[in-house]
């Protein structure tokens, strides 16, 4: 026991394993995002989840044994500063999104109008364009709900949804 204490202190030993677990977790995430075969992707995702859990388990044990210095808490005014800044950013981005949406709608209306006027000289495939644009508009309008559903989906490791 005494010889082992000389070899490597407990906390250094645990820290070495912990940092390797962090690295392994990152590598599984990269592997999952770059997989082509759905079953491989699912496999890497499972390994990622387990490794993440193991890293958490070791960290908790280390912090309970006072082997890990937790960083000092952030000051209230620092939080306030970041919150203000990012509420501002959020507002600007919302404006940007709204602008682009109304712009796109305006353009679609314009094209539809233009197509109607020119219909007499349009070949048949172009006459169908307004219909296609209507579809696109519907799709665009459905997109936010779709995205929200995807985010709430607990099975985010479902394979092949990107295929």
């Amino acid at each position: 026991m005494n010889a082992s204490a000389n070899f490597l202190p407990d906390e250094d030993l645990a820290y070495t394993v912990l940092s390797d677990l962090k690295r392994v977790t990152r590598e599984y995430a990269t592997a999952a995002t770059e997989s082509n075969c759905p079953s491989i992707r699912q496999h890497f995702t499972q390994l990622l989840n387990t490794s993440l859990a193991m890293q958490g388990e070791l960290y908790t044990a280390m912090s309970q044994q006072k082997m890990y210095n937790t960083a000092s808490p952030a000051l209230r005014q620092e939080i306030d500063k970041q919150m203000k800044e990012y509420q501002n950013t959020q507002q600007k981005t919302n404006q940007f999104v709204q602008q682009r949406k109304t712009m796109a709608q305006g353009q679609q209306a314009q094209y539809a109008n233009w197509n109607n006027q020119q219909q007499w000289q349009q070949p048949q495939w172009q006459q169908q364009q307004p219909q296609w644009q209507q579809q696109q508009q519907q799709q665009q309008w459905q997109q936010p709900t779709h995205f929200a559903q995807h985010q709430q989906d607990p099975r985010h490791q479902q394979p092949g949804h990107f295929m």
């Binding site: 645990a14 392994v24 044994q65």
Partner: protein, 75 residues
């Protein structure tokens, strides 16, 4: 589940992952043997087992894709 032939990249990731898991098995086992703190020791012993399972599952994954792999380079 539908299996696709492994890409060269996937094969590299699987091989790298197996060498990672192998290192973790050794690290956890050796660590648990010299560790004096019982809680850390318990965690390391348990995790050595999980890493062994990971290694085995990656090996099985390779096995499953063995028959799908072409023997000639594809253009």
């Amino acid at each position: 589940m539908n299996l696709l032939p492994l890409t060269a990249k996937e094969l590299e990731y699987i091989a790298d992952s197996m060498s990672n898991e192998d290192l973790m098995i050794k690290q956890c086992t050796a660590g648990a043997a010299i560790c004096t703190n019982p809680q850390i020791q318990q965690v390391l012993n348990h995790q050595a087992q999980v890493h062994t399972q990971h290694y085995q599952s990656l090996l099985q994954c390779l096995q499953m894709h063995q028959s799908l792999a072409p023997t000639q380079p594809q253009s």
